[in-house]
Symmetry: D2
Subunit: 512 residues, 4 copies
């Protein structure tokens, strides 16, 4: 193992032998299949240990359920103080945790640091929330009646996260869930268990300073799809928050629906950007490049489709290809690298297939292909691809988790919006324009049909203050800012009669 | 047909021959099975006509989808003006529509009028909403960036409603959906199609005064379960709002989840009330009676479980039985009647089975049984039942849509809350107490686990200003007041960069 | 008196002899000076009667205070129902009331109708509000404590309104105040008492249908400045809402402050519009003209300063002058008239002085001057003036209630914003631009310092859904939409301890 | 000077020589009168230095105004990060700052620590706010129009604080003002300048770590009433937040009103508590004692009036007198002390006069009088007084800043509420009852007329999550939680037209 990584693990207090399950600070071995964790950087093994199997889920759920009964009556600001301390802990170990993110997910250092910063940000935000969690008092139609609603803790929640944001997505859920009064059971991606173990280890450290906190408000289960399904079907978990592919999300949604639970889904994006004639081309180059090749095209918000006005398309394409040619690709932990590896061989194969399909559908492929020199061996490093293609090519309907940018042309804004909205996913979108009417139309009811619609910035890189998530096959969930916290609570509508009469709503008379 | 009913139908402009489908004011015959609509009052046929079959759904959805494209850009206050006019129309025809409700659903006049009043109330409320639909502007972490969220129309929605609120539930959905910019496709209960046809007829009248409104913002499909399933699986309906039984809701939820749509479920309740030693007994008698026998126990919020402190249980039971004995049961359209018929024979059979089961589980059954004299022939009129039973009897876990009240005893409030929350449903609940601590605890995170928790009023009879709905198997949906309207819209998070720089969130640096 | 006006008065139920005071439907004669109400249209007397004097205020306040004690406990939705009926009454008498507005304030028919429509709109909005008036429930830091806030009725409020919106401003206040539970005492402008009497007459009619409503929730006092001061100093009126000039507002503010009351001030505007190079010139012509000459320049939101980019200034000026030349000026009740009279001779004199000052400060005055032909005799009809002037001329710091548009030039947007913000008033503002960056900057913290900042529409003509009002010398008040209703209520923060302990906030220990 | 105090000053980095003015970290000597700061503990001089005079205010305001222009465009979350760091600094120096609070204000250690904790809490809360500052997006009535409101920084604000919360009140204002984008100019009480200097010193330390922050976002001016008046009349300070006596507030309010500025007033309280027959007497004893004698009765929320049901009055009085007798009175820095000194001789004289007046009005005075033994010499230590008195005695209308509790009796709750509300102040109130109807009525529109109305806790000791402030002569201001932040910002209502048409609101047609 790399020396930097080893040092980071040590600093974080990670043991040498990994255990798949942790309830609070109680670590237990998994009894499932063996897991070989390989770094996308060089394909070397980072860790090897037994995963949990589905039968181990129940015990974890049981502990979380017991913790919930205590945690729900701890005042929210006191819960917030715990989250604040967790945020301080993250500040302290920001660099180390980022190093793990780089090694396990293959992210460049800047993005790994940014991901940890996002965890810190959400903790700060959650602390503020902990003195709010506002319900409404409401004017009652009956005399001497008080009508109000309160938001109460919901119960233990299951969080299923993906490799590409191995820690931030959990933190989004956990920080909010904790202040809302909910224990969290986390099943991270099998590709990134170490970062998860690190987060839980830091949790244990904060726990040690807060003996009155029920330990089982945070549990970790490293496991496979069977563990995920076991969480989804558990009647004790009123909410499953799942991030990943559309098929995964569809399965979770159905399992949860069958038991009338609640799902919070963050599934695929097939994110588009319209580049209008008035766009600032310099801004366009930078925002497209960051959105399309950042994280090697493996963000759910990665830019996958550029819809460019014909008057500027050639120029923009040429400039982009110029930038693409000079992109520093390679070891993500090296200074200056902007594009790291794909996560694994399967991701590389998907990229290859998509490019082949694009070609067969009339696309002109620029770039693409595996790099073999000047990059660490054992990793799958690719040249980002820009594919000129017709907007009705079937391949553009698909999300491929790789740095492929489909480049299309349009004549009128209506046409561009039509092209933009014609895919089944609905996560992030953007328009680059300096025209007020275009910008507003794009953000209006008749514009982008996505959960995120930006003007003059790219599709990726959301702030935590807004609600994050998308429509259509993206699954409709919202996390992070605004009132997303409501998904982690249950609403109770209360009517209190303090009169000696019993007037009925709607003026009904019923005298016994 | 009864003369009053005939007159009401005439006043409402109902034709003699009924057609199963209406798109705006375009009526079409169904091509499915024949439907015989019988009145719960006397079992007589009110109408007979062919229902729609599932293959007819697609054409309706198509029209609604086309209407949506226009309706979504009509300013919300203009949409609100249409709803206002619909509300005025309801005011005009309140009595007639209530007459239909009585004949088709078997409700007493007071409750039928109350149901129409609820439609009027929700229209008034929706008109106010139409100048709100508030999203948030949010402080951005980046200079010269504006961060905001807007709520946009969602698309055509499917509404599946039940016999017991044949018109109000649709109105809750329709009034809100319309101001939110969504067309509505309504599948009413097969037991109550005439009230639905009446509502759609009134809609047509308002439409006639508003030629610029796309007619297909309201469609009606009278059909069976196949039509419901067809709506649930339609990829063009982003939201299905369904009211009814748990099995129905479970099926809808799974069908909608499979296509990653959104469900708004209002399923069964198994509503309990705790009666504490300090309760005002007069209030208790009145609120229990209204909640337990009103609508002949066929509200989703009907009181099904009384959990009474042992110190007052005997007295309360005796007084209740005294009131029960004198309840005016019979023709719901007659003045003074408080308890009308069950909806049909099947409902009667369910009641009989439940009472038999209760008895076999040790319950002492007071009342129950069909009435044969002094009631219209052909209807299923029953004596409401009060069943003294242990709190661990299995039968109390079930919702039976009939006037059965399980009467249980408790010693400590903790025990009472435990009994209260031990059922799988989570709609409405109440405590009768004059003790501040008890009242507050019941409404707290550690109290009732229901969506509705009342103090010193019964479980049934909500105001439209609050959010209506429940937790657990009740399905988690919320309708009517507070911010329930958000379920009918999609949220777009917008970030607008008006600088010439491209700062990234979380302070990431990525310079190409 | 004009026949149309007479008919309108008859339809509205106005008596021939006017009384200055009305408490509910109890009319009383004034004991103050005699008032001669003259129409701006032709200077003819519309009515003559004795005004109230200051000593008559106390009795009115006393009745309002007594009404408050009852009205505050009437459920808000029931109060809303009263407002709904008042709105229906306005719908019924819209044309008649508009006729009075035209005759008394000199508005063209379209604007008079628009003003009544605004009354209707605010009633609709207030009805919706009546089921909201949302306070917050808030997470408490102490176990078994509930923290919440409720909004309660405030008390009787005084409304002082101006001639230019003789009815809408009162309706903004009254509709909101009524649903909030507050009686209203109205002192209209001495120039427009008849419209006020008409509004109160309609109120009496609605009152007659609602015998349970305390009549004194609406009172009218036609009086002079002494009456206004008497309201401002009354300790029984927790809120004074005053619309008018800066000196009037300053006096009210100090009087109210001296008794630690609350003021809601809507004072002068000196509204500017930046016209950028990318502006749609057609839109510019239309929006400038409507904002600058509409209501003969006598709106508080009238456009008074155009700040035009030098590259388009000549062209825009020429086109504007072309439009100005053809403006149909004259009898406001005639079809097609766009510009009616100034309110009186004093207004005309002010316009003349301002133009003279402008000229002496280097301004080039186009237009201006009284019209004598083709207009009704006895009214003060003027040609709207466009004055090319330097942005540092002292005259542009003043608001003159007349159709004078100062026309200035700028080079950079920063300069334009500087010019825009350099006046002491802060009501309405606009930018015409199709440039996203300019539009957003103008609406940002570093842009317009006004309460209203528009893009691509003029300064006048707000919707009731937003909060209306301005900063700096405009007085800081907000009326109409958004959360303006909070000004009409008092907030109570409640903490309820339902434990048996007494934990203190901030963790303080204090054990006796 | 006491050794503990000296050590605290050293730890905080306080210089030996004090300067009256600080702009950011730039300290300047005052040119006004000399100030001799004496400790309430022993009357010894803590410091002596020249105060600022009114002519020095302008320079400070000028710097703050310049800082505002920069600070307002710093993104709010970045401003929040500064506040977070300030909060961390307070955590670090909590004990030292509390020591200063004890020595300068005479508070017991527990309360001094609580006050600093309150500063920390508000910082945490403000950090959360910094990603919110939510405005609304609003449904527009016009097609292709976007209607929204944004909250923008307001400008430099003046904060005038009182001796009894020498640091918390400033922190409430400063933390919120800073995230809102406003610089703060602080005039502390002349009695407590050292704590203010300490806060500003800590500010300088945080500033040193944040070189990009404009230093003048925090300024301090130690001065007298002339300095306060100079702030109040300054046209550059759009908001004056003042805490103190009613006469002071009245003067500020009028000065600010004269320039049409905004005041946030937290003036006197005359706080009452109703003790009902069902009250938990143990809770009553503890909450009354803490509220009445805590901070030696020198909180604005101190309990001054107990309104006790006649059935329990004797018993409660006797028990209270028993507790009063044993109260540990003395050096507030000693462990176990619950009641420290009055702030100075003038406070003692006021207490004496009030007790004399009470006696002359028929009151029976228990306790009162200066203590001379077992307390530090030079301080004014008193025995808290309980005065049995009639509810119509004139003295109970006055707030005396000392531990005097007027003890009154009532028969019916209506009478009790009448007595409660009959005073001119309206800050804090409480009811002790276990009766739901009484508790709800007290918190309703017909109950307490105060800004704070509690159930089963005392009047003093609010959480920062709620809005703090009161009605009537208390001045109407709200600080701290809920939406109090809006007072520190200006609201801009924006309408953006992105169509090519110019539709007017209210459907007005105006075609040029």
């Amino acid at each position: 193992m790399n020396a930097h990584l080893q040092k980071a693990c040590q600093q974080l207090g990670l043991p040498n032998d990994h255990l798949a399950i942790s309830i609070g600070s109680n670590w237990q071995p998994g009894r499932g299949e063996s897991l070989n964790v390989r770094s996308p950087i060089d394909g070397q093994t980072l860790a090897e240990f037994k995963m949990a199997d589905a039968r181990q889920v129940e015990a974890v759920v049981k502990e979380a359920t017991a913790a919930f009964v205590k945690w729900r009556t701890v005042p929210a600001p006191v819960r917030g103080e715990f989250v604040r301390q967790y945020g301080e802990k993250l500040r302290e170990f920001k660099q180390s945790l980022a190093t793990l993110v780089s090694w396990e997910a293959g992210k460049i250092t800047q993005e790994a640091l940014g991901e940890v910063q996002e965890m810190i940000d959400i903790c700060d935000f959650a602390v503020g929330l902990s003195r709010q969690l506002y319900g409404k008092t409401i004017a009652s139609e009956r005399p001497s009646h008080r009508l109000t609603e309160q938001w109460h803790p919901l119960g233990p929640i299951g969080v299923i996260s993906a490799f590409n944001f191995p820690v931030a997505v959990w933190a989004w859920n956990a920080a909010i869930a904790w202040v809302c009064g909910d224990p969290v059971i986390w099943k991270p991606s099998e590709k990134t268990p170490l970062t998860a173990i690190a987060c839980q280890t830091l949790f244990s450290q904060v726990l040690a300073d807060n003996p009155e906190v029920p330990p089982a408000i945070s549990s970790l289960i490293v496991g496979g799809a069977d563990v995920g399904q076991s969480l989804a079907t558990s009647p004790k978990l009123p909410l499953i928050s799942a991030t990943g592919s559309v098929p995964m999300g569809r399965a979770v949604a159905q399992n949860v629906a069958a038991r009338l639970g609640r799902s919070l889904l963050e599934l695929g994006g097939n994110n588009g950007m319209i580049v209008a004639p008035s766009a600032d081309l310099d801004l366009a180059i930078r925002s497209i490049t960051f959105s399309a090749v950042g994280t090697c095209g493996q963000r759910c918000t990665s830019l996958r489709r550029a819809i460019v006005h014909e008057s500027i398309a050639d120029k923009l394409r040429d400039q982009l290809l110029g930038v693409y040619e000079k992109l520093p690709i390679g070891d993500p932990t090296s200074d200056g690298t902007l594009v790291g590896p794909l996560v694994d061989e399967r991701a590389f194969d998907s990229m290859e297939s998509a490019l082949a399909a694009a070609k067969s559908q009339g696309g002109i492929v620029h770039g693409g292909g595996r790099m073999t020199s000047n990059v660490p061996q054992g990793g799958f490093y690719v040249r980002p691809a820009l594919v000129e293609i017709a907007s009705d090519a079937p391949i553009i309907q698909q999300e491929t988790f790789a740095p492929i940018l489909y480049f299309m042309r349009y004549r009128s804004l209506d046409e561009a919006i039509g092209i933009h909205n014609c895919v089944p996913q609905g996560l992030a979108s953007a328009i680059l324009t300096n025209d007020v009417r275009e910008a507003e139309l794009f953000c209006s009811a008749a514009g982008s049909d996505c959960g995120i619609a930006n003007v003059n910035i790219g599709t990726s890189g959301a702030e935590i203050g807004g609600a994050f998530g998308g429509e259509k096959e993206t699954g409709g969930g919202r996390e992070s800012g605004s009132d997303s916290w409501k998904l982690y609570m249950r609403r109770a509508t209360n009517t209190i009669n303090y009169s000696t009469d019993l007037p009925l709503a709607q003026g009904i008379r019923f005298e016994v």
